[in-house]
Amino acid sequence: MDYIYSILTLTGITMIGVMGTYMVTGLTGQFSFGQAAFMAVGGYVSAMLALKYGVPFALAALIGSAAAALSGLLVGMPTVRLRRDYISLVTFGFGEAIISVLNNSAQLTGGAEGLVGIPKRVDLPLVMASVVVCLFLVACYKNSKYGRQCLALRTDELAARSMGIDVNRLKLVTFLFASAITGYAGVLYAFYAQYLEPGYFNWTVSAEWLIIVFVGGINSLTGAMVSAVILTSLPEFLRFASAWRIIIYCIIVLLIINFRPNGIFGDWEISRLWKKKTTVKGGQA
């Protein structure tokens, strides 16, 4: 039971992290290869506040997410002007730099040995509630003028600009929001695992989140969430095949990318099930 409980909790935390990648990659079409670093910022800042200054969890969580958003601002300001392929390089570099800083400031962060003794404040119900709340916020964002403008600039920046869309500002706002959400995933992880080490947040995690978004459907939040659940729990279900499980995982991912290049869900959203009626009615009016 404990085992399933922990898989569910970690899956929930991954879902929140993937929401950040979905926003940056799915909505604005930029590749963030350093998304997990924002999780590290959120996790470390909130954990250190709690450990060193006895800051209560709720406040630490808020400051942790805000710190992640602030680091998003630092990375985002120069990068939104860049071409898409350079953005992945810059975010990758930033991510690795964060890991390096965490490793080398051992007095503060515990370095490679990790940060221990974080109080346990997070359990499954809190993670599930957080997933629901974050999902609501992100879905509302996608469904607002911000989401529409993001999708517009993702397909055609020149045409988006000629509609009056301030492309750079919109990319930055989305990047900040994504950083804050991912940072919150880091907070949850820190106060659930009670232990942080820099290696947990390196680029392989960011790459895994990108894979999750692509498998689910680049344009579908629903897809990203379903694929987060499947791909996070899949390695656990494949445990019986121990040595083979990573290979099976890779084969499944390759098959999906090959045979459904737009991901499992393409751009389908679950909200279409209940939205359909209103738009049809509007269309006839």
Binding site: A160, R161, M163, G283
Partner: protein, 260 residues
């Protein structure tokens, strides 16, 4: 319905742009009075689209000025110029593929929608009201160009002629004072061309905006324009009333002669 505006005065003077050693546009000037329909014609590669790109801020001009209602647009960003009231369509249709037909039109009013980030993520009443208003407006624009009932369709699934109309509806939705149409009739069949001329005339009567268009089809040029400017190798070759330009021997030699 139609309102007589004094807005939409576009004055372009001495516009120049070189790409490497090629003078794509060389000291080109033209003006459109409020509510006027102005055509820019010229052989392929004459620099017509570059003129549009300079006016809308896609490229910065090397020299020259662009004034909208007396206000200079030089040094402004592309999105700022659009919000000042210059809408445009593109030679090769550029619709937003990730969005449906109605959402494509809504993106044009989104930049000025009056709600902020927190209203958006919490879906507050301000956001929902504004979105409803935008959708209603968007439907009106779609019905004006004859695309009612296709709100939920994917733009790439529409036939070519309808994609042109959708692009027009999207440009209308920014509430332009001046609208720039880049070869709007390209790829349309003869009956679609006539329909298109009617549509532009109807929209012009209703909104009375200034229209500047680039076109090769003589039917469109002669039926729509009040004034014509002929561009050849980046330079102004001739300008004036459509008929007078049509009979200008230089123009016939450079351009129309090839067609007739």
């Amino acid at each position: 319905m139609s309102t007589t505006t004094t807005r939409g005065l576009l004055e372009v003077s001495g516009l120049s742009k070189a790409f490497g050693g090629v003078h794509a546009v060389d000291d080109f000037s033209f003006a459109a009075k409020p509510g006027e329909i102005v055509g820019i014609i010229g052989p392929n590669g004459a620099g017509k689209t570059t003129v549009f790109n300079l006016v809308t801020g896609v490229y910065a001009a090397d020299r020259g000025s662009v004034l909208l209602d007396g206000v200079s647009l030089c040094g402004r960003r592309q999105d700022q110029i659009a919000r000042e009231g210059i809408g445009r369509t593109f030679q090769n249709i550029r619709l937003f593929k990730g969005l449906n037909v109605l959402e494509n039109v809504m993106t044009a009013s989104d930049p000025t929608a009056p709600y902020g980030f927190f209203s958006a993520i919490l879906s507050l009443p301000a956001k929902r009201g504004s979105d409803r208003q935008e959708a209603k407006k968007g439907r009106e624009y779609l019905s004006l160009v004859g695309l009612s009932g296709l709100e939920d369709a994917r733009p790439e699934s529409l036939p070519y002629g309808m994609q042109r109309k959708l692009e027009l509806a999207r440009a209308l939705a920014i509430g332009p004072k001046v609208i720039l149409l880049d070869e709007p009739a390209a790829g349309l069949n003869p009956s679609e061309v006539r329909e298109f001329i009617d549509l532009v005339q109807r929209l012009h009567e209703r909104f009375n905006f200034t229209i500047v268009f680039i076109e090769h089809r003589m039917e469109v040029v002669m039926n729509l324009s009040h004034k014509l400017f002929v561009l050849s190798f980046g330079k102004l070759l001739a300008s004036g009333e459509p008929l007078e330009v049509r009979h200008n021997p230089e123009v016939i030699e450079a351009y129309i002669g090839e067609e007739d």
